[in-house]
Each structure stands twice: as C-alpha cells, then as structure tokens.
Symmetry: C2
Subunit: 204 residues, 2 copies
C-alpha cells in the first residue's frame, strides 16, 4: 500500500527510541507530502553526522571531528576547566544534565554503563584503566562520582571508591535527598532516609 521506499524509511524511523509503527508512519507521511526539502536536509545532516560525530576520545562526551579527524569534545577543549576535578557519569545524557546546571567546573569521564551483575556487566566491563590513566595524566585530585542513586549506580560508586582507595585521590559522591521544590509528603522512604543521612550542619 505504501511505496517500497517509504516502507524502508518507516522501518528505520521505528528504530529510534520511543518511535513505534504509527509514529514512524506519521513522520514518513509528513516528509512525503511536504515536498522533499526537509527529507533532503535531514538526510544530508544525518550522513554528515554519521561521519563526523562520535564519542570524545578523552571523556566519551559527544564530539565533532576537527580538521585532523580528532574527536575531542568542547569540555575537554575548554582550557578554563579545572583538570584536577573529574566527574564520573554513567551516560552522556547525565553529563549534559550536569553541564546544564552550570555547577561543574571540572572535566568528565563517561562510563557508558553501570555495574549490573544480573545483566552480566561486571567490573571488567567498566573503563577503570581509562579512569586511572586520566587521574595520573591530568593530576586529578578529586573524583566526583555522579552515577544515579539507583541500585546499579550505588554499586558502581562503591566499586569506584574501592578501586580508587589505592590512589591518592579524594573520591566524593553527589548528594541524594529530597529534590528542590519537592514535597516531603510525597517523597519515598529511601529518599527521605538519604536526605536525613546526608544532613548538613547549618549554623556555627
């Protein structure tokens, strides 16, 4: 019923996260009836991105290849960043969220995954050698572990703290507690427990 070319396009769209058959069909119909200009631009940008965008070779953040084909991201290029402060995150999305907060003045390392024994992801699948190398090369003094406050995220944080105990580096963990604007009434027990555990002295 659909031209074959559009069916193929639809199947490719359906591989994007959160896109089902209906949504993919909607995109294809829109593109096919819109005149071809958006299809052309999107096609060209996708091909360009496929050949020039990839993970930063230093930290794993998104990067665009420079003239010499080197993939170094904007954070690693930024010389105003404090190289002695290294923030370890699970995913690029987490790095972007921290960058949006503007609260991190150091650099990053993207693990790409969390420790998850049930899924067969043991310590050997985490980039620990790369982390140790970064610490040695950049003279890192503090590693901030910003993995999520989930079971896997906490397990990964504990593993990193243990692995780094032999290195002379401070290891810290981001705070977990009631979020800004959050309601204590609706906070879950674990969050409240952590908020109490992580309490800070307010006065003199």
């Amino acid at each position: 019923m659909f031209p074959e070319r559009l069916s193929r396009l639809m199947q490719l769209f359906a591989r994007l996260p959160g896109v089902g058959e209906k949504t993919a069909q909607r995109y294809c119909l829109y593109l096919a009836t819109e005149g071809g200009e958006l299809s052309r631009q999107l096609g060209e940008e996708l091909l360009a991105a496929a050949s020039s965008v990839g993970p930063c070779q230093r930290c794993g953040n998104l990067a665009e290849a420079d003239g010499e084909g080197q993939l170094v991201c904007a954070v690693c290029r930024d010389h105003r960043r404090d190289p002695s402060l290294l923030c370890v995150v699970a995913r690029v999305q987490d790095l972007l969220a921290i960058e949006r907060s503007g609260a991190m003045r150091g650099r990053y390392l993207v693990l790409g995954r969390l420790l998850s024994p049930l899924d067969g992801i043991g310590p050997e699948k985490l980039p620990l050698p790369a982390l140790l190398q970064r610490i040695a090369e950049d003279g890192v003094r503090e590693v901030i572990v910003a993995t999520p406050p989930s079971v896997d995220g906490e397990a990964t944080a504990l593993l990193l703290a243990r692995e780094l105990s032999a290195v002379s580096v401070r290891v810290s963990r981001i705070a977990s507690g009631v979020p800004h604007g959050g309601d204590l009434e609706f906070a879950d027990q674990i969050t409240l427990g952590r908020a109490l555990d992580g309490r800070r002295s307010m006065g003199s």
Copy 2:
C-alpha cells in the same frame, strides 16, 4: 554544549510532526551514541525518498517514481480497480485508512485540503478541474465523497455535489453514524442524529 552538527540535526528533527526539543534531542543522542550505522542508513533513505517519492500525478496518493520518472501510485497502476468508481478524500492519510478497510474497489482523488472560508480556502483552491477531467477521462459513473464528517468536510461535500450536478454522474456520501463497537450512551448528539437520519430498512 552540543556539537554544532548535532544542534542542526536536532532542529531538523524538531520540524517533524509532534516532535519537540526534548524528543529531537533524544533521537540525536541515540543516533550519536549508536555508532553511526542507523544515521547513515536513515540519511541515505531520506535522500533517496526526497528524490523519488511524491504525490501520484493522477490521484495525489503517495507514489514512487518509476524508471521513466513518472509518479503513478500502486492504486492507479492496478488494472483490477474499477475506473468508473472514484472516491474523493481530503488527505493521503484518509486514502490509506480506506485502503486498509479493503472496502473500496475503485480509484481515488486526493483533494489535499477542505473548503475552509475562515482560513481563506475557497472553492477556487480545490482541484475541481482535475476532478472533472478524471470523471470525463475515466468514464466515472459514481463519485463517493469521503471527506470527514466535520464542518469543513460537509461543506466540501456539498460543494462537490453542487459542482457535479451538471455532470451525469452519481454523487454519494459515506455514511456517518455510531461507529462499530461504539456505545450509544457515549455517542454525541450529532452522531446519534446522523445515525437516525441515515437509518436503513432491514426487512422486506
């Protein structure tokens, strides 16, 4: 914060229907971290579709160009279709829905728009000459007006009936009423009114 190339890609994705900034960013992050294979395939298919897919030159349905660059859709190519039965629809999506039902054995004409005086769409913006030409060329005996049962859809149907009154062709309108599996209790007044108006004799 994002590589420039990905920002451009994100803006293009955000032009797809129902895609906002967050969704566009999600697609880009997925594509950028997935290795480039999907980006490449999607890019190539989009470029191919942009140059070969477009509206059928006979009916306005989606079509893929043949070897000679002619855009004729699968329905218009299908010689088993009854050329004397012509179904007029507003959009390609409506044509596809009718095709899915399998209940139409004739051919189509996609208007592309409905009469909408408030939006400045008057009778002169509807492809009435093309409709008259199709009727004459194909020896159409019945025109089924399958515009939606909305204000604009009904106005368009009335206009078509009036314009075709001078031509020796039967003009019919798809039935409007309570949908299959629908609940009378929750049907709106207009739908129930139409269901009663359009009642059919059951017995001898």
